[in-house]
């Protein structure tokens, strides 16, 4: 019964989010995000149909659908990169390099995984998803660290997008890790926690993306009359002197 309510509620919010996106034309601005939402709606519809018509196939169908949405979920990260960091070429370069490294790690892992796990059992699939979620979690953590360090302001739309997806990844990662450790005994909690966290994220997105709220743009009138190398050299010099003094003091 609870599973029905959670799954059904999720589809209603997903549809509301998509309709609102169409009405406000936000889907044109956040193309990757709405592609992800579309894939989630499609996945939920497929799973609901299977649950109604062929309940025995549900557990077997769950993982392929989950993996597809997991891959399209990377579109959200791409969206955040494009939208938030575009006015900051330096920070964007940093994030892109980290992102490329994360994607390379994922694809290498995906290529190697079939050789490491030739026989796919439910347990190995859970561990596979857990590993992919942990890469996403680290990516979001890195992205947020960059946003905090460079004090990049973000608008309501992007904040909601990051927060909602981060919350979903967090719940998925923790529940998958505990599920993998505790075994089938955790299945009941997990089967509720996973879709429920998606519903919460969908609600956050619905509120955050109700209307268009652009990211604050940096002040274009201020330009430093020096290049990056000069800035870094000076800052390194400042830190070097401070470290030398404090090092001497600590040894004294």
């Amino acid at each position: 019964m609870w599973q029905w309510v959670i799954e059904g509620g999720g589809i209603v919010v997903e549809l509301a989010l998509l309709l609102r996106g169409l009405r406000t034309r936000l889907f044109r601005r956040y193309y990757f995000f709405y592609t992800y939402i579309g894939s989630v709606i499609l996945g939920s519809a497929v799973l609901m149909t299977i649950l109604l018509k062929m309940p025995g196939l549900y557990s077997k169908s769950y993982w392929p659908v989950q993996l597809i949405t997991l891959v399209t979920g990377y579109g959200i990260l791409l969206e955040i990169l494009n939208q938030v960091l575009a006015p900051y070429p330096g920070a964007e370069r940093f994030a892109r390099l980290s992102g490329l490294a994360a994607f390379a790690a994922i694809f290498c892992f995906a290529l190697i995984a079939p050789f490491l796990m030739p026989r796919w059992s439910p347990g190995s699939v859970i561990e596979f998803e857990r590993d992919l979620r942990s890469v996403q979690a680290l990516f979001i953590f890195g992205l947020l660290a960059l946003i905090f360090y460079y004090a990049i302001p973000i608008g309501r739309n992007m904040k909601g997008m990051v927060f909602g997806y981060g919350l979903y990844i967090l719940t998925s990662l923790v529940s998958l890790a505990v599920r993998s450790y505790a075994g089938p005994s955790f299945l009941r909690v997990w089967s509720v926690a996973q879709p429920l966290s998606l519903d919460v994220s969908l609600m956050i997105w619905l509120i955050a993306l109700w209307s268009y709220c652009p990211n604050p743009v940096p002040d274009p009138t201020i330009h430093l009359e020096e290049d990056y190398e000069a800035l870094v050299t000076r800052t390194k010099s400042v830190i070097g002197h401070i470290r030398t003094y404090l090092g001497k003091a600590a040894r004294a």
């Binding site: 953590f141 990662l173 505990v178 201020i222 990056y228 390194k236 400042v238 002197h241």
Partner: protein, 192 residues
């Protein structure tokens, strides 16, 4: 079990960053306001916080020697408490102003397309180390009193003075005329 702890730790990192995101109040780094703030931080450090006379006065051992020899126990206690408060406030102020200079660097660097991630990582770690050193001094003063680490205080003041001199070069482009323009601009923005 180790695997579980590992993945839960990643979850904890993500949770902490989401928590800070929810509580975050973005500041206009790299804007005219931030440049003025960096300039003000420099002036505050050079003119208000780091002059040798001021540092020597706050941490002067002679004052304590005098109070200890002349005043009753209650006055000695009160003196120590008050001096400790002043010392802690001084370290906090220095730390705040250095943080403002760090913000200036990050606010400027983020716009450079040729930003070097490795160098930025180095700088971020160095700033973190420096801020931790200030925090350590706060702990030492809090636990041991204002006279616990005289050499550390002197070294920190010297180091911060040196930092100011170099930061001043970074902010040299912001001459008085431009500063005036920016100040009026930011005032206008605030009023609107």
């Amino acid at each position: 079990m180790i695997q579980l702890i590992f993945f839960l730790s990643i979850g904890a990192l993500l949770f902490a960053s989401l928590f800070f995101l929810a509580r975050r109040n973005p500041r206009p780094e790299g804007s005219s306001g931030a440049l003025i703030e960096a300039r003000q931080a420099l002036v505050a450090l050079q003119a208000g916080l780091l002059p040798v006379e001021l540092v020597q006065r706050i941490f002067a051992n002679e004052d304590w020697e005098f109070v200890r020899s002349e005043a009753p126990a209650k006055v000695r206690e009160l003196f120590m408490e008050e001096r400790k408060k002043v010392a802690l406030l001084w370290v906090e102020q220095v730390r705040t102003q250095i943080r403002s200079l760090r913000r200036f660097h990050s606010g400027s660097a983020r716009s450079y397309a040729r930003l070097n991630p490795r160098l930025e990582m180095e700088l971020a770690l160095s700033f973190a180390w420096l801020m931790s050193a200030c925090r350590l001094l706060q702990v030492v003063v809090y636990i041991g009193g204002p006279y616990a680490a005289p050499r550390l205080v002197g070294a920190m003041a010297n180091a911060a003075s040196r930092a100011c001199k170099i930061s001043e070069q970074s902010l040299a482009f912001l001459n008085a005329a431009q500063l005036g323009l920016l100040s009026s601009g930011s005032t206008g923005q605030a009023a609107s």
